[in-house]
Symmetry: none
Subunit: 194 residues, 4 copies
């Protein structure tokens, strides 16, 4: 049922019919229900599978040593490049998580939301570590910082992957590392940073 992810990504959850899914898999409708109890469960399974893969990517970016501002930018850019490359290789998953997962039924939406909560948690670990190492100013409120950070990353990622029209086949003029560097510079120095 691998093709299902592409179908969900392209047509959305509701517009993807079980008949489309089984056609793409080359099996009969009945066979689908031998493997999955429902369409909903299929979507949730795909999302949860993707959640674990995504989590791993971010956790690899865990910061180990202190360094200069440029070190920070490069370190962040490296993590973002990994993330962008993973996302590019898993466009259908990302389309479901970033875009199409929304107009679905509550249990599927919940699975999507939990994925972003997990994503944010993984980042919170990274930022807390950076503060601990004295690389970032301690803030009275870590959460709001991470909120903003994650909003920045997912927003940029979404635009880079799918463009302004949310086109699954969109190709950004920027490479993943160009985009990652620009984003990391913005992240660390804001609009003013050269």
């Amino acid at each position: 049922m691998k093709g299902a992810l592409e179908l969900f990504a392209r047509k959305g959850y509701h517009s993807t019919k079980i008949s489309d899914v089984v056609k793409s898999a080359g099996v009969s409708q009945g066979t689908f229900y031998w493997y999955f109890p429902s369409k909903e469960k299929l979507a949730i399974d795909l999302i949860e599978e993707g959640r674990e893969k995504l989590r791993k990517v971010i956790e690899q970016g865990y910061r180990k040593h202190a360094g200069t501002v440029d070190d920070m930018i490069h370190s962040s850019a490296r993590l973002l490049t990994d993330l962008f490359e993973f996302a590019d290789e898993n466009r259908y998953l990302m389309a479901l998580l970033l875009i199409k997962g929304q107009g679905t039924d509550p249990p599927v939406q919940e699975a999507v939301s939990q994925t972003w909560i997990a994503f944010e948690e993984a980042f919170k670990g990274n930022v807390a570590r950076a503060i601990e190492l004295g690389m970032l100013p301690g803030s009275k409120d870590l959460n709001i910082r991470v909120n903003i950070l994650v909003a920045l990353f997912t927003g940029v990622l979404s635009k880079w992957l799918f463009g302004p029209m949310h086109d699954v086949d969109f190709q950004s003029p920027y490479t993943s590392s160009e985009m990652a560097e620009e984003t990391a510079r913005f992240e660390i120095r804001g609009l003013l940073g050269s």
Copy 2:
């Protein structure tokens, strides 16, 4: 058909039935089709109406004079506060634009996408003006900067309005101006800015 916006925002496009819409409006099913040719057109009308209102808010923020870095932060914070307040007063519209508009049929999605393109255009004007006034370093690529900026704003806005679970009734612990200031500081100075 004002209640329809709330229904779309709460239940999503596909889960909102025409029967729900007419019940909330107190008219008959037949009457709906006297005013609207289809469910799709209703959604698109609502989105386009909101698009104009949203555009006006951003255009009011058009920057007029140069100033210090703190002036820039305050100026940006003021615009963001306006935006956040408008969004808070139009939660159902924003839910449709930021979240629920996604998993729908192509023509509705197109209307949503066009709204964000208009939003980005309006911001691009603001940033270009700031560069013109010498407040921001000219960049080889204005688009990428604005892309990142808009990704930041819409991402922060979405989290502030609806929280991690995309709950239409979510109430952030931060006021609109707190959130706007924190975002503006991040925007101008990045994570390093005090």
Copy 3:
């Protein structure tokens, strides 16, 4: 949806498809769901409607005066004749209540069972009245008597209506009043009665 009763009676609940029902009614499948929320509710409605009609027949038989044994037999025979004639005129209803209502889903079965409980209650009133008038020996246990009585009546009714093979179109060689009289004599005097 009057034809539905006949369909249920002839084919049984599960073998009667909504498509059969709407064909017999000359409407579209969608129209069915305008009038009934489900197939189950249709069956329950038909049963409950029949329950009330059946109850009325029995309650008309309420005994008013005392009399001889032959009076009792005639009085009982009159009630049974009414019952048998009603049943004959409502064969499809009776088939559903006596036979086909069994192999259905719990809520439908419950509706059938409640009908027979109501039937028994109505008879209990009649027997209690006869004891009160001194026509029947008071019994330590009215319930068991009425149980046996109702078992006798429904059993005889079922055989007379549908024969040994439960054929909805069965025609007994006995008229309703012949059958009623024989049953009433058995009821009052048992096998020994002449």
Copy 4:
């Protein structure tokens, strides 16, 4: 496939799935179809097996000598006690025969009906013998008498076993012999009998 009888009795024929049957038997779906050509045949086999056991119980009651009225009552009560006890020990079979076998497909119903025809035939032998012995008044119509008798017995049996709600686990407050005696007295003397 012994558990199948219980499943049919509890859930009815249509609601009992082959997957339920094989689960209860601890074999695979494929194995079922090695032993039985169809679900229908399984049900019919179970019914026909039960039919023979039931027939034996009644034939044991074959009356041998003449006697007083009280002898007749006791003799009949003894047979009924045997019947009730057999039924109690074979509740699932009786549930299928008396209740759940009804709303099924024609071939299964036919098997059930044939069982009751056999049951009636066996009783007819008993009654004819009693008339022959001068214990019962000869009747112009033996059939109608036996009809009524069998209706009485099966109706009483059904209520005693399963109660008004057709509950397979129902427990009557009366013992089998109490119920048998009361029924036999009614059979011989009717409501008037002391």
